[in-house]
């Protein structure tokens, strides 16, 4: 949806009117367009969105107005519970009931609980976290309760980041709706370059790799170990290209509107440890987990903060993270796996606390750390992508025993040799650009924007043309963003 021409045109319409309107009405226009956008997916989604907005708005106002700490706590708990219960009903009812049915099966029960047909409002996982963070910030007085219902509703529903984030804090986003912004040509150019880069990653890299990856993961038994290993590796690239592309597109759009959204990625595959990875991957989620789960848990156990408590807290955080990503055991295992990585790293850090060297590690040590971290993350992606836990274990077993050599499945038999070469060439280009960005600490859109006019235009044209020529679109819609499923 976001990577479609129609959404881009919707954005242009929004943008045109936005800057044409007097400043005091712009929030209303954005709010209307946000609800139009969400309503275009399904009108009933907007009912959920509006109800959750209204309740959280009222509770936050009550929290702020209330002097009695116990009542404040009551409202806070009510807000959190209502938000997560709503999320739970829409997202986890099916998973919960099928798990119960599985248990009943194992116990030999004859009857099963019928699964209700519940629809899933896209983006609810994201705006629920945003609502909860707002209520908690108001409670801790990190933010003031927004008196203006319309602007608060816009904070929850702001269309660029409504579906897949970034998960914004009220203290960061809300004031920007009041800031007076005039149209800036530089903002337009910077934003468009970033949007172009996002489209390139999504349509040229992610959606092309999706064809190969989907093939392998939909029927792993048809593929030999080398092909499954390759598909897993390609999935690492796909998910990064996909999710970071989304963020580039929406951050670029907001940038043109004069609104700065929080960065969600910082070269995650150059992380030197699992903890470092979570500082670079889906940063706004990582920060949310840290601020609203991990730190409160640690604070609650501050008097007896043992290694065990620390490990438990980390595992709980990542259990939540896994469950938040999807209502399936594969996501839960993925979360626990990442929690395990972090727990081990934290334990090692505890032991090495006194031996910590302040000097910069040798390049080869950094390279080794990056490789190991990438390997661990890629391994965990198997659970994230697999259709079932059994599939995930089958893939792992096949790869690590180098088995199923006789399987004749081909990842590429529907593509020509030339296409394969081009796909790998494009991946190499992405890799080179990522390395250049990492080393120069300068994002590619900024680099393009700062080059002289001729070079800049050449690069922009190459970017747009390569999306048009090599992008995966046309008779079929672009593949949905992976994170839109969460």
């Amino acid at each position: 949806m976001i990577a479609s021409l129609h959404f881009f045109l919707f954005f242009l319409l929004t943008l045109g009117v936005y800057y044409a309107l007097p400043h005091r009405w712009r929030w209303l226009w954005l709010l209307i367009m946000s609800y139009v956008f969400y309503g275009s997916l399904s009108v009933k989604y907007t009912v959920v969105l509006f109800t959750m907005t209204l309740i959280s708005y009222g509770l936050a106002r009550l929290i702020e107005a209330q002097q009695d700490i116990e009542k404040k706590k009551l409202y806070l708990r009510l807000g959190i519970i209502l938000s997560f219960v709503t999320l739970g009903i829409f997202k986890y009812t099916g998973f919960f009931l099928s798990s119960v049915n599985d248990v009943l099966d194992r116990l030999g029960a004859n009857s099963h609980i019928p699964l209700p047909d519940i629809w899933f409002p896209i983006g609810i996982s994201f705006f629920t976290l945003q609502i909860v963070s707002y209520i908690m910030d108001v409670y801790t007085e990190a933010a003031e309760a927004e008196p203006h219902l319309g602007k608060y509703a816009l904070y929850v529903a702001f269309f660029p980041q409504l579906l897949i984030g970034p998960i914004e804090r009220a203290s960061h986003l809300l004031p920007q709706f009041t800031n007076k912004v005039t149209f800036d040509y530089q903002l337009l150019v910077e934003g468009l370059i970033r949007i172009g880069w996002g489209f390139w990653k999504k349509l040229v890299i992610a959606d092309r790799l999706a064809i190969v990856v989907d093939r392998a993961f939909s029927d792993p038994s048809a593929f030999s170990a080398d092909k499954l290993a390759l598909a897993t590796l390609l999935y690492s690239i796909q998910i990064y290209a996909d999710f970071s592309a989304y963020c580039d597109i929406v951050i670029g759009m907001a940038h043109i509107l004069g609104i700065k959204l929080t960065e969600n990625f910082n070269h995650p595959y150059f992380a030197t440890s699992p903890i470092d990875f979570w500082r670079r991957w889906h940063i706004t989620l990582g920060n949310w987990l840290r601020d609203y789960i991990f730190r409160p848990l640690n604070f609650a156990a501050r008097r007896n903060f043992t290694l065990w408590i620390q490990t438990r807290n980390v595992l709980l955080v990542f259990l939540f993270s896994g469950l938040w990503h999807g209502a399936a055991w594969t996501f839960i295992i993925w979360g626990i796996l990442h929690g395990g990585y972090q727990a081990v790293e934290l334990a090692l850090q505890r032991r090495a606390r006194n031996k910590k060297s302040k000097s910069k590690p040798a390049w080869w040590k950094t390279a080794f750390s990056i490789s190991v971290t990438f390997g661990l993350v890629t391994f965990a992606w198997i659970f994230f992508r697999a259709e079932s836990v059994n599939d995930a274990f089958y893939i792992i077993k096949t790869i690590f025993t180098w088995g199923n050599a006789s399987a004749g499945g081909s990842l590429w038999d529907f593509t020509s040799a030339f296409e394969r070469q081009v796909v790998f060439l494009l991946i190499m280009i992405l890799l080179v650009i990522e390395i250049a960005q990492y080393l120069s600490k300068k994002p590619v859109w900024e680099f393009i924007h700062r080059t002289p006019l001729t070079a800049r235009w050449t690069m922009c044209l190459i970017l747009i043309y390569s999306v048009i020529v090599f992008g995966y679109y046309g008779e079929v819609d672009p593949t949905a963003f992976i994170y839109a499923g969460f």
Binding site: L5, H6, L9, L12, L13, L15, G16, V17, Y19, A20, L21, P22, T182, F183, D184, Y185, L188, T415, S416, A417, F418, E419, V422, W457, C460, L461, I464, Y465, I468, V469, F470, G471, Y472, Y473, G474, E475
Partner: protein
């Protein structure tokens, strides 16, 4: 729209007026467009809205006092350069894959004397090189897969832009193809310039305009096919159909063809002609073609390709009602029901193509005021076969070909038998007009034959005698009893 905006900027119209105009144009006019298109023209309005919104967006930018004239000039220059580059990209990436059209466009103006128009039926019924050789004219077959009479009309319109043929032959099958967007869509990239634009306005849904103007948006994935395999195989395949003397790489083709046999079809599945019907809209466009030809003083013929089972549609009545010259291959017992000339129930194989091409040349000689070149005719005619007999003795099968001419001493035969995996029998050229072989096991086999004139070895024909061998079908037709059973 651009200049109106620029004028506003220049004249310094009050911001209130600017904004009023912009908001009116952005919000009210699209509603009017939707009304007109949805309720009056019954067409999907999105692309018109796209154009409108884009223009309005630029207007909005212009109206903004922040957009300096130099930035506007820059933006406009970039857009112009982009569209120039985009148009150039249409050449390598937006081309039609039709050999027929590529050759047509490469012909010098006013050099084509006879034009054959239609779909796959005309493609396999007329080999223009034989017609040219025998009649001493320059003819061309302008075809595209599965087109209707609407497309045929636009093909003729396109041809008259650069050519002035003396005679046009239309194959009747387009009358029986349902006129719909998908059918004419196949013509995308084959029509150019004014005719493409007129066809777009006349026939295309508004949302497909961009595909007509920029075919690479529709065929953008063609880049993936541009490799050696694709180019060589395509050209070879077309050459194989059109230039019967090209015999190199035969074995490879045989293997490829054997590999293409993927389904055994029943007689019912294989008789599309039973469902044939004339679509009234096609008749409207046939009448347009007649008017067009009369206007240009072009002699128009309607021919009907043969079927192994005679068609149920009375095309002759249509031709008579319009005083059209008409020829029906189905009335000629040379072709029907001798399956030796067919590769399926309605398409000739190469042997049939040569015979049919000679027949059309004979027919057109008089209206063109030409005489048949007897030497050329004899060269082709001497390699024509009359009948194929198949005898089964136990597990042995014998194919015998009878020639049209009584004296077969000038003719040499090369036999090929292949299954899905390999060529099983490959005999060198000899005077042996039959082959006997034993099926190694149950399965599908392709029996192919190449015939050449010993005194003119450059003239040879290869025909597929049994491409989709279906024992049940063969038994039903009384051709071959079950064989190969072990």
């Amino acid at each position: 729209m651009l200049w109106v905006g620029a004028w506003f900027n220049y004249r310094g119209i009050s911001s209130l007026l600017q904004r009023s105009i912009i908001i009116t144009s952005l919000l009210i006019l699209p509603v009017l467009w939707i009304t007109v298109y949805e309720y009056i023209l019954h067409r999907y309005p999105i692309d018109i809205m796209v154009v409108f919104i884009s223009a309005a967006f630029i207007l909005a930018l212009l109206a903004s006092t922040s957009l300096k004239s130099e930035n506007f000039a820059r933006l406009l220059t970039f857009v112009i350069i982009f569209f120039i580059g985009f148009s150039i990209l249409q050449v390598p990436f937006g081309h039609s894959r039709s050999r027929s059209f590529l050759e047509f466009y490469s012909a010098d103006d006013n050099t084509i004397d006879v034009l054959f128009v239609g779909n796959s039926h005309i493609e396999v019924t007329v080999n223009e090189s034989i017609v040219d050789d025998v009649l001493g004219v320059n003819s061309h077959v302008l075809h595209d897969g599965g087109i209707d009479m609407v497309s045929a009309y636009y093909f003729i319109r396109q041809s008259l832009e650069t050519q002035n043929p003396r005679l046009i032959v239309i194959e009747a099958y387009p009358l029986m193809v349902k006129p719909e967007l998908s059918s004419i869509m196949r013509g995308q990239g084959v029509l150019r310039g004014r005719v493409a634009f007129e066809a777009m306005i006349d026939r295309f849904s508004v949302k497909d305009y961009s595909s007509v103007l920029f075919p690479m948006l529709y065929y953008h994935s063609d880049w993936a096919l541009i490799d050696n395999t694709f180019v060589s195989e395509t050209i070879r395949d077309y050459s194989y159909l059109v230039y019967p003397w090209l015999t190199q790489g035969l074995q490879k083709r045989l293997s490829a063809q054997a590999g293409m046999v993927t389904k055994i079809v029943s007689l019912e599945e294989y008789m599309p002609d039973r469902e044939l019907a004339i679509y009234p809209e096609n008749l409207v466009y046939l009448d347009k073609i007649i008017s067009l030809c009369r206007e240009h003083h072009i002699d128009l013929w309607l021919v009907q390709s043969p079927y192994t089972i005679p068609p149920v549609v009375d095309v002759e009545a249509i031709a008579q009602a319009r005083h059209l010259n008409f020829y029906d291959y189905n009335t000629d017992q040379t072709f029907n029901p001798a399956r030796v000339h067919f590769k399926d129930s309605a398409h000739f194989n190469n042997i049939g193509t040569v015979l049919a091409s000679l027949r059309i040349a004979e027919l057109l000689a008089e209206p063109l005021g030409l005489t048949i070149d007897k030497e050329s005719y004899a060269r082709y005619h001497s390699v024509l076969v009359k009948n194929l007999t198949i005898e089964v003795d136990g597990e042995q099968i014998t194919y015998t070909l009878d020639m049209v001419e009584d004296d077969t001493s000038e003719v040499e035969f090369a036999w090929y038998v292949a299954n899905r995996d390999a060529v099983l029998i490959e005999s060198p050229f000899s005077s042996q007009n039959s082959i006997t072989f034993t099926m190694p096991e149950n399965g599908q086999y392709t029996v192919q034959l190449q015939i050449r004139n010993r005194t003119h070895p450059e003239v040879s024909v290869m025909g597929v005698l049994d491409e989709r061998y279906d024992p049940a079908l063969a038994a039903e037709l009384g051709l071959v009893p079950q064989f190969g059973a072990k």
